[in-house]
Symmetry: C2
Subunit: 310 residues, 2 copies
Amino acid sequence: MHEFDLIARIRARAALRGDVVLGIGDDCALLAPPPGMQLAVTMDTLNAGVHFPPETAPADIGWKALAVNLSDLAAMGADPAWCTLSLSLPEASEDFIDGFSDGFLSLAQQHDVALIGGDTTRGPLSISVTAHGLIEPDSALRRAGAQVGDAIWVSGTLGDAAGALRQWQAGAPMAPALQARLDRPTPRVALGRALRGIASSAIDISDGLLADLAHVCRASGVGARLDARALPSSAALRQAFDAATCLALQASGGDDYELCFTAPAAQRDVIHALSQTLNLPLTHIGEIVTGTGVCCEDVDVAAAGYQHFA
Amino acid sequence: MHEFDLIARIRARAALRGDVVLGIGDDCALLAPPPGMQLAVTMDTLNAGVHFPPETAPADIGWKALAVNLSDLAAMGADPAWCTLSLSLPEASEDFIDGFSDGFLSLAQQHDVALIGGDTTRGPLSISVTAHGLIEPDSALRRAGAQVGDAIWVSGTLGDAAGALRQWQAGAPMAPALQARLDRPTPRVALGRALRGIASSAIDISDGLLADLAHVCRASGVGARLDARALPSSAALRQAFDAATCLALQASGGDDYELCFTAPAAQRDVIHALSQTLNLPLTHIGEIVTGTGVCCEDVDVAAAGYQHFA
């Protein structure tokens, strides 16, 4: 199977948008951004054996490759618009391409993202995606905006993906609810969009809460104090691990792709209402304080350096 | 060496532009495209052992990873603006990063391209780049515009990169002039820009003249007739190979990143003048005809499927 056939196979299934002047098939795609909008651009790569177990289903790989990029757009509050995909495969496989496309394009469709171009090459299994979002000037959620006194919030539950990984690494079967979170993370796009004008900063949790919140603190020139007992956990996580392990996974496990954001205390009711509207738990987990770094009593911070799968 | 250190090391050297609202360091970059301009977007990946010999100097890898993407922008006639870089490395190496950055950023600087984000991951050596260019509406050079009766032109000389590769594959030393073309291709950005309004179609030669021109023919619904004796060659190529081998390399060798374009016959003098202005040979090599496919007497077309390095 030739490179061009692979491209044609994906192209035939890719949806377009009105702002795509020219999609897959020329030297470049051509796009017409809406007047006055800014672009949010992110690029993330997943490598087999590093970011996912080699036996992961192709559809899950496709989903995740796009999800981790949409999560970055969500963390800026941007509306997803277009993406490019570069897929390196050890050998051309129709089955892989079809499964991969199922996962990738179903998530793209959910968020009205047009696949506009990319590359297929021979090489060890690796997927790079560049995602483009649209956002009005001065409305992006940045890491640098956290203020002393702001409340720290997190969406959903923490530690589930890392819990699945822990089971996999131990050679145990993964609990289905945890595995679903590892394989098919949900980018919190609607939440990010809704937080414009409400949150003072935001980041998505890919490296673990403590590590990612530390990025926010560094960028904002502040510190953070977390209440370990407030960190949200799923029933599946509590069922699978003892309390101390749960807490370590919640604080330091990556790959959940929940949003961690800060907001003035006065936004508390607005955020609770948003949680209802989106049907998504939003939990107050701490405060921004003067100083540097993230303080979280009862957590072994030495375990904070989550390094994904391998 | 940690991922964030690698990013910091590249970030410290990346130049910015006035239209970059937020560069490397947040979940996304933020860009403000000039009003009324369209975006040209392309993404290409280079894998070690597939697209370049593993022993290639890091600076040359960096150069080439950006060059092949700028070449796609050139083929559309777009002005390069921004790029993102995803770099997978087997191990974190300051020496590799510094060399790679030398090559990558020196080419970026030549074309006023801002590196705005990306990713560094652990994995087999692989480089993905997404490049963004700006172009006025309705002025892009597309593959689909070739008309029967148009002249076919090519820039520079053909077959040099493939000649170097041929020598490398034979275990012979590469002629320096040929190796330079393989390792440090020149994206024909100024030419692409100048061809707006003159050329009816364009493509860059990455897979070989015959294969790439065939893409133009397919997209335009036309055929092409090439004059094999007109194909331009370098003195270095003629010195290294016999005439038949030269011709095969010129017709079918990839990785030259010259532009092949079509233009109405009436543009002949304008194109000759452009060649003078740019100090770049532009050679009339054939005609667009009715029918399908590319006809080039005296060339063994079976050799046309150039598959890069491996």
